[in-house]
């Protein structure tokens, strides 16, 4: 793979990992699942 393709892979992976980790750390801070 070229350097540019590798950089793209790393950046996109970080976007998704950071985004999802943030979301999962917020679980339970507001809503309650049961009525």
């Amino acid at each position: 793979m070229t350097t540019a393709a590798i950089v793209t892979t790393i950046i996109m992976s970080l976007v998704f990992i950071i985004g999802l980790v943030f979301c999962f750390t917020q679980i339970g801070k507001g809503g309650k699942w049961e009525d």
Partner: protein, 510 residues
């Protein structure tokens, strides 16, 4: 009789898996990677992420939020805004129904191919690779000369289609609790299979070259409107929005449960799956380029061509584990499709009908499955692929984009995006700001109308879609007719009496 309770997901994880399963479908594999390659690799990903943030996530929050707020499917939501808007909830119901009539057929093809992959029925080696296209269009589809030359039913496809609808019935007839539990497996299994396919792809010669085509950025492409059209359209299609179902899925969420975070998790998970699937697809593309000494432009990397021609070509050329890889790929396809299918059928069609008419779940599920099966038979004929193409263009492009844009406008300006935001923020894990209001009121509708104008009206009004001739009509005429008929039926359903079977004002946990 009328429901005195609103059905609920068995827990948050079940809802999340059901929502992710509905979003993660065939398009993640056969549309996203090819678009990324076509529109500048890494540069396309920038536009795609922007589209996700400003268009996809607000739209998903709106559908989840309005469904949860009114505790109804799409028609009930818009009836709640004002009786005169109820039709706007029914129109996407028809979109969902027509999509699933052909989507189930594609899933049936996957079952057929999972079986034929066991023996690599189209042949091995270069002879098999050369025969893959003829096998699909000839042996499997028996493709006729045009939409009006129906040809006979392809009985292996019919058999698989019946199997698909029987499976769907048994998943759906007990409602959201069972759907949520099934979705856990229909999401995890394809993820696991994609990992297997990725490992297989990366171990093939030429894989790295294929990935370079997938990912290498061409930032000059960012000035090309087609890139933005491709990115926004992919976001619109991939999240299963504009198909009524997410309103219903949201309506099964408890009244104090989170909306915002669930929308972010669902959207990010779906897009991460797309990005990941691209590696599995383009490693195979690279392998074919090297094995057959052809340029990337000659390898079909999108749509039906990728799934049922290109991948079989790769299977034929694989030095080892060809049959196993083929079976895994098509079983993966089956699982990718099946949860989107029960989302479309249950959330998109059955839940709204039950909301309106109060029909029993098992009965209406059986009837809808049977009707969809019968309509789907058209796609199992020799002309099925042509009709699939026309109906797909009608509902999966025009239908969901137009209804999605109108829904956002009505929610944003008539109901009030700020009221919806306050409702969602009151129970969500994190709060969203006033930016959401302007996304729903202006940006999302504008983005969707840009896509439908740039990629649709601009072409299909000038040139007849697909070059089809159907009696006195062409492909574009059929598209406008289907849209007009479904719109008319939506107004008819709005006017239909509910025979007094209205849902209660106070909704209790089932």
């Amino acid at each position: 009789m009328a429901e005195l309770t609103r059905e609920r997901w068995g827990g948050r994880s079940f809802f999340l898996f059901a929502a992710m399963g509905s979003a993660i479908g065939l398009g993640n594999v056969w549309r996203f990677p090819a678009l990324t390659y076509e529109y500048g690799g890494g540069a396309f990903l920038i536009a795609w992420i922007i589209g996700l943030i400003i268009l996809g996530i607000p739209w998903m929050m709106m559908e989840f939020g309005m469904g949860r707020l009114f505790q109804k499917g799409a028609p009930g939501v818009f009836e709640g805004i004002g009786k005169k808007w109820e039709w706007l909830g029914w129109w996407p119901v028809f979109v969902a129904f027509l999509i699933v009539t052909y989507y189930a057929v594609v899933i049936a093809w996957s079952l057929n191919y999972a079986a034929s992959s066991a023996t690599v029925a189209w042949g091995t080696g270069e002879a098999g690779a050369a025969n893959a296209g003829a096998y699909f269009y000839g042996d499997v589809l028996n493709l006729s000369s045009g939409p009006t030359a129906l040809g006979g039913l392809q009985w292996p496809i019919v058999g698989a289609l019946v199997g698909v609808w029987v499976i769907l019935f048994f998943i759906m007839f007990k409602g959201a609790r069972v759907i949520g539990k099934v979705a856990v497996w229909t999401v995890i299994i394809p993820w696991a299979l994609l990992i297997v396919l990725l490992i297989r792809g990366l171990t093939l010669p030429g894989a790295a070259e294929g990935l370079n085509y997938y990912l290498a950025p061409d930032f000059g492409a960012l000035t090309n409107p087609d890139l933005w059209f491709g990115a926004f359209s992919q976001i619109a299609f991939t999240l299963s929005l504009g198909m009524a179902g997410m309103f219903a899925y949201g309506s099964f969420i408890a009244k104090k449960a989170d909306i915002n975070n669930n929308a972010f998790i669902t959207s990010f998970s779906n897009c991460a799956t797309s990005f990941f699937a691209g590696f599995a697809v383009f490693s195979i593309v690279g392998f074919i380029m090297q094995a057959l000494s052809v340029p990337v432009g000659e390898v079909s990397a999108s749509g039906l061509g990728l799934a049922f021609v290109t991948y079989p070509v790769a299977i034929s050329m694989m030095p080892a584990m060809a049959a196993v890889t083929g079976v895994i790929f098509f079983i993966c396809f089956f699982f990718l499709g099946i949860d989107s299918a029960f989302f479309l059928t249950y959330g998109g069609v059955i839940a709204p009908l039950r909301d309106k008419f109060g029909w029993g779940r098992a009965k209406v599920t059986a009837v809808i499955c049977a009707i969809a099966l019968v309509i789907g038979l058209i796609y199992t004929t020799g002309s099925g692929l042509y009709w699939l193409d026309i109906v797909d263009r009608t509902v999966s492009f025009y239908g969901l984009l137009i209804t999605g844009a109108l829904a956002c406008i009505v929610v944003g300006w008539v109901y009030g995006a700020d009221k919806l935001r306050e409702h969602m923020n009151a129970t969500s894990d994190f709060k969203i700001g006033a930016w959401f209001d302007w996304m729903i009121k202006i940006v999302v509708p504008a983005g969707l109308l840009f896509v439908v104008s740039w990629g649709g009206f601009k072409n299909d009004i000038v040139d007849a879609y697909g070059g089809y001739a159907i009696g006195p009509f062409n492909g574009s005429h059929i598209i406008w007719i289907i849209l007009a008929v479904t719109l008319g039926l939506s107004f008819w359903l709005q006017a239909a009496k509910t025979r007094g079977l209205k849902a209660p004002k106070e909704v209790k946990e089932e």
